[in-house]
């Protein structure tokens, strides 16, 4: 087929396994609790809904540039990547394994709206166990990095999980938030947040504004190779030691940010307030060009 087709391998459109294979060294991935073990959701079965043999998440071991890592990827297309009891237990087990076996890092390809509502308390418990396990791995000195560029983004409990990571790689298609746009609109009304205004949703939750605000460590193009490159860069950087002083500094920076952008309606207002050139055109730039502008603004 044409060269064109081969060079383009979208992260956004890839499924969970394809993302993992695009991320890690070729042939290095070995799956844990894989689909052949048929660990399917008992809750969905009771509700007479379709189940998936992997419950919508793929976990296992691999190498990245020869270094041993653990990796997990959520399947956004299966029930919105939602975290049910089995799904959450697989991710929690992966992070416990990281604590016990000390790989170079854990990579979590997040693509989820949060807790699987069908599983109610079991899902809530699963996601809180997942958060505790993530902090356990970090406390053991294993850095955990999140990768966000799928159709479901990272919302709800998985938005919190994302922010517990040592670093985040996002594409501009990725979204990160706590309450999803539909939830905010339902609770606070359409004047507060019009969830059908796609541009507004992305200007508030999308990868580019998250990179601008520092919540995303790296912004990469929507490409499997670009995410792999980003993961290698974070691995090379190593996990920063987070002492109390660093947390206090983060808190002060967040307070200053909240004050500075108190009147901002969305990302475009923030780009303008930061004095970035051609703020209206930033959304059209590819990741490299965008990063150059943000890096320059940060060093200035």
């Amino acid at each position: 087929m044409s060269a064109h087709a081969i060079t383009r391998r979208s992260w956004f459109e890839a499924d969970a396994r394809t993302r993992i294979h695009g991320l890690v060294d070729a042939g290095s991935f070995s799956e844990l609790c894989g689909p052949h073990e048929r660990l399917t959701s008992p809750h969905l079965a009771v509700l007479d809904l379709p189940v998936a043999f992997d419950d919508g998440v793929v976990v296992g071991e691999a190498t990245l540039d020869g270094e041993r890592i653990l990796v997990g990827a959520q399947q956004g297309e299966f029930n919105g990547g939602s975290v049910g009891e089995i799904h959450g237990a697989k991710l929690r087990g992966l992070l416990d394994r990281a604590r016990d076996t000390r790989p170079a890092a854990v990579l979590l390809a997040i693509d989820s709206g949060g807790v699987r509502l069908h599983e109610a308390n079991a899902g809530l418990i699963a996601i809180s166990e997942l958060m505790r396990a993530l902090l356990g791995a970090r406390a053991a000195g294993v850095p955990v990095y999140g990768l966000i560029g799928g159709s479901c983004g990272a919302f709800g409990g998985m938005g919190i999980v994302a922010r517990l990571c040592d670093g985040l790689i996002m594409s501009e298609e990725g979204r990160l938030g706590l309450s999803g746009p539909e939830v905010i609109e339902t609770v606070k009304g359409v004047d507060e947040f019009d969830s059908k205004d796609r541009a507004l949703v992305w200007r508030i939750t999308g990868g580019k504004i998250r990179r601008t605000l520092g919540e995303a460590t790296l912004l990469v193009d929507d490409d499997l190779g670009a995410f792999r490159g980003g993961a290698k860069a974070l691995l090379a950087r190593g996990a920063p030691l987070r002492g109390l002083a660093a947390l206090d500094a983060d808190q002060a920076a967040l307070a200053a940010r909240a004050q500075r952008h108190a009147d901002a309606r969305d990302g475009l207002d923030i780009w303008r307030a930061l004095g970035l050139p051609d703020a209206e055109r930033l959304a059209m730039l590819d990741a490299d060009a965008f990063n150059r502008i943000i890096d320059r603004a940060e060093t200035a």
């Binding site: 689909p35 052949h36 048929r38 007479d48 379709p50 998936a52 043999f53 399947q75 297309e77 299966f78």
Partner: protein, 101 residues
């Protein structure tokens, strides 16, 4: 959900394990495991679309006639895929086995 099992004749395949597709609206996953009789293919279907068993039987019979699938067990979780999508996924997973052998 509607569930049923078919047992169909097929030429022997190279036994292997595989997975194809994702359970999402209009799509399905097919899990391949090794079975017993080398000239039979067992297929377990679980589908959210009620009342299309005869269509499934026709699609599956054609697929295991097109590709060697003897000695395999196919397990299908379906969320309302059309026959076109089902056929495409069956082709994809069975051809991947042929190429691996």
């Amino acid at each position: 959900m509607e569930t049923f099992t078919l047992d169909l004749p097929s030429t022997p395949a190279n036994g292997a394990r595989a997975l194809c597709g994702v359970v999402s609206s209009g799509n399905l996953e097919i899990l391949v495991d090794t079975g017993h009789a080398p000239d039979r293919c067992r297929i377990d279907v679980s589908t959210s679309a009620q009342g299309f068993r005869d269509t499934w039987e026709a699609v599956l019979a054609d697929a295991v006639a097109r590709h060697p699938a003897g000695g395999l067990v196919l397990s299908i979780n379906d969320a309302g895929a059309t026959p076109a999508v089902v056929s495409l996924r069956l082709d994809q997973v069975l051809e991947s086995l042929e190429q691996a052998s």
